[in-house]
């Protein structure tokens, strides 16, 4: 079971955000179409739908590739991912001229530490578990 290690790392990495996207999409669509919030969420939904899961997979591949040299714990490795994702998300907001950008900038000092903690815990427990299931932990 030591073949296609990076493919298995990618697959283990995309599981959590792919499943979680169902929750995100449900919440956003209810927010938009049930409560009629006048924010065009569908314009930026491509980010959690496509960018985030793929980056998780690539980030897990990077973890497997670099762990023998860096010895960085998987939780800390995962906590670094928002530092890549957040600027990309904000950039997409700017490119698509998303109207809620000032609000996001306002709450960033609170959201950033919570995001780091969430990523640390999810990577430490869920992604680590999935890596172990696929025999790459």
């Amino acid at each position: 079971m030591n073949q296609h290690t990076y493919l298995r790392a990618y697959m283990a990495g995309i599981v959590v955000p792919t499943i979680f996207f169902l929750v995100i999409a449900t919440v956003f669509y209810i927010w938009r179409y049930v409560y009629n919030v006048p924010v065009p969420i569908e314009r930026v939904l491509v980010f959690p739908m496509a960018f985030v899961p793929n980056l998780w997979g690539l980030w897990n591949m990077l973890f497997i590739a670099s762990h023998s040299r860096t010895r960085l714990p998987i939780g800390l490795h995962g906590a670094l991912l928002p530092l890549v994702l957040a600027p990309l998300g904000i950039l997409l907001f700017r490119v698509l001229d998303f109207p809620a950008l000032p609000l996001f900038a306002h709450i960033f000092p609170i959201a950033a530490p919570i995001g780091l903690i969430a990523y640390y815990l999810v990577w430490k427990y869920l992604v680590h578990f999935l890596n172990a299931v696929l025999g790459i932990a």
Partner: protein
Amino acid sequence: MNAHDNNELRELLTRSIAPMNDTELRRDLWPQMLQRLEQQHSIRVPWFDWTLAAIAAAAVILFPEVIPALLYHL
């Protein structure tokens, strides 16, 4: 292969393979096996991680406006 060959082969095998006298286990291995199985299935969460989770949960409750931003990036 006749009877003589069979006897010769039996003698050769008897000589080359040492008889096993002590076939009993010196100790019971099952408790160790159970302990290993339990270690594999139980996830120990240190107090530090519980504290972090509590801080994050409290922050989300206190500042619910961060939820869309978090969902967007998770």
